[in-house]
């Protein structure tokens, strides 16, 4: 029998929702117990949050000054050491997990499976390739430890109500000092819902036309309690910050409702929204590819339509 270790993603004080989604995936490995590890400078608060998640056996707390910020080169040797007691090590396929998990796998001398979207058996998974244009079923060797990232958009967050024990551990591992964290600048987005876990997302594309015009998208989003996303074209044009980008190289999301405004629908963008419950597209070009996959399409000028929607909603 095996045991699963899930790597918690957090910012030092709050557990990222991606962790609860990873735990849902872990729950699909029937019969395997699951622990969560929190690497932090002071992980008390994050550990307490992780302990309330459903189906977690033990939350392992590893406090170390070097863990103040998530640096893959610093975290990977610690996780590789812990992994000795496990058959599976899972992290989210967010930028945090993508940076970290291959480094862990290489230290362990095993392959890494990226973006698990479904678990067929403890060693067999489905994952997307070619920007989601093909889905492969892969199998890892039975004798190998499985190190993988979980495509968080494919899983709902696991429920609360767990009562895991928290266990502090110290690891005897040498940590590199060659990499130093210098800061993060994010849009923060004024208390709006998180793009990766929001139930409604409104995205703007090149058609929005300017940074100033994005205020329209924000107004509508606030009316609906939605998070704000963007196409790569809008980010490249400087209308909005990179942390809003949705798509193959941005965020892969699965809201209940996705409203794409002034987005033509390049395949790389569609990859990021395929798992949305309902897709609404508003675009002045009736031939825009986004209409091929939208559940509801509306051809027209977004500058007329958005104010109308605000009145009606």
């Amino acid at each position: 029998m095996g045991r699963i270790l899930v790597i918690a993603e957090h910012d030092g004080s709050e557990l990222n929702p991606s962790t609860a989604r990873c735990l849902s995936c872990a729950g699909d490995f029937s019969g395997l117990d699951c622990d969560v590890v929190v690497l932090a400078k002071d992980g008390k608060r994050v550990c307490e949050q992780a302990a309330t998640l459903h189906d977690v056996s033990t939350v392992i707390r590893i406090d170390h000054d070097a863990n103040e910020h998530a640096l893959a080169a610093v975290q990977a040797p610690q996780i590789a050491k812990l992994a000795e007691d496990y058959s599976h090590v899972l992290g989210p396929s967010t930028t945090f997990g993508k940076d970290l998990m291959p480094r862990v796998a290489a230290l362990l001398g095993v392959a890494q499976v990226s973006d698990i979207m479904s678990v067929i058996s403890p060693h067999s998974f489905q994952r997307p390739i070619f920007a989601g244009n093909a889905i492969v079923t892969v199998e890892t060797r039975a004798q190998d430890m499985v190190v993988a990232t979980v495509r968080t958009a494919s899983y709902q967050a696991t429920a609360d109500g767990g009562k895991a024990t928290i266990e502090s551990r110290a690891l005897d591992v040498e940590l590199p000092t060659h990499t130093r964290y210098r800061g993060t600048s994010g849009s923060g987005d004024g208390g709006r819902p998180d793009l990766q876990s929001a139930s409604i997302v409104i995205s703007g594309g090149r058609g929005v036309g300017s940074e100033k015009n994005f205020a329209l998208i924000y107004q509508l989003a606030d009316r609906l309690g939605a998070a704000v996303g963007a196409s790569r074209a809008a980010v490249d044009a400087g209308y909005i910050a990179n942390d809003h980008q949705v798509g193959q190289t941005g965020k892969i999301i699965s809201p209940d409702l996705y409203i794409a405004i002034g987005i033509s629908g390049a395949i790389q963008h569609i990859t990021g929204i395929k798992d949305a419950g309902t897709i609404v597209a508003i675009n002045k070009d009736a031939d825009a590819p986004i209409f091929e996959i939208a559940d509801i399409g509306l051809v027209g000028d977004l500058f007329t339509i958005i104010p109308e929607l605000e009145k009606l909603l």
Binding site: A106, D144, T249, L298
Partner: protein, 249 residues
């Protein structure tokens, strides 16, 4: 630093419409246009700009694969790389073995930086750079949109979910490029002619003492479940009515 090593992967061109073989054995690649993986091209462009600023002596491109990879190495040379290394094999290598091969090259070449794309647009693994950095026991800066070299250290701005993260690290190191790092230059005709005379050395994979393994077997390749085209509405009022009907507004 003396040199930067840039890894170029031969991949299906990003404009190609991907089709899955009807027998589920893979994706159709016969007769399909092949190019340098776009993220690797961005990595090469950045290396060339670093050389143009006088911060490195030379830029060496490396590719691992069949003889056809030499086409992508020639593109790299035409863009401005000084020389090329082809590691020849007919096997498709997994990221961990690619990283092991690159370590062998790094041992011989002693680059100050190894640069590559954050992912290849075929396998979408996003692993090779991180694995290489782990085996090399050196820093990694992944998803980089801005890179500054100052002597023996470098500063990178990384595109992360929370925004833009800045890290500082010692060289040598591995850097993987994100889309907004730069816009690669267009290759001009005279450069293509000149590239034909630049040195390209070929090494057989076996000569490097690496025996590739199959750790992950692809059992089946399928087309994704398609989303159907839905209904078109005439105006905002109809759209809202539809959303209300679906209990979404």
């Amino acid at each position: 630093m003396d040199r930067i090593l840039v890894c170029l992967k031969r991949a299906v061109d990003y404009n190609v419409r991907i089709r899955v073989k009807t027998d589920g054995s893979g994706v159709i690649t016969d007769g399909v246009k092949m190019s340098v993986n776009p993220f690797d091209e961005i990595a090469l462009e950045e290396a060339l700009r670093i050389r143009e600023k006088g911060e490195t002596g030379e830029v060496v491109v490396v590719s691992i694969g069949t003889d056809a990879c030499q086409q992508q190495l020639r593109v790299g040379l035409a863009m401005g790389a000084d020389r090329a290394i082809h590691v020849r094999t007919d096997q498709a290598l997994e990221p961990l073995d690619i990283a092991r091969v690159l370590i062998r090259i790094a041992e011989a070449e002693k680059p100050g930086l190894i640069m590559l794309g954050k992912q290849a647009i075929d396998g979408d693994n996003n692993q090779t750079g991180q694995m290489l950095a782990a085996l090399w026991e050196r820093p990694q800066a992944t998803f980089v949109s801005e890179l500054t070299i100052s002597g023996a250290t470098a500063t990178a701005v990384r595109e992360v979910d929370a925004g833009l993260e800045t890290i500082e690290f010692e060289l040598p190191a591995v850097v993987t490029s994100d889309l907004r790092l730069n816009e690669p230059r267009y290759v001009k005709m005279p450069d293509i002619m000149k590239a034909k005379r630049k040195p390209l050395t070929t090494t057989e994979l076996e000569e490097l003492g690496i025996t590739p393994q199959t750790r992950v077997t692809v059992l089946q390749t399928a087309a994704p479940p398609a989303r159907q085209k839905g209904k078109m509405v005439a105006d905002a009022a109809e759209l809202v009515a539809e959303l209300k009907r679906m209990d979404l507004a």
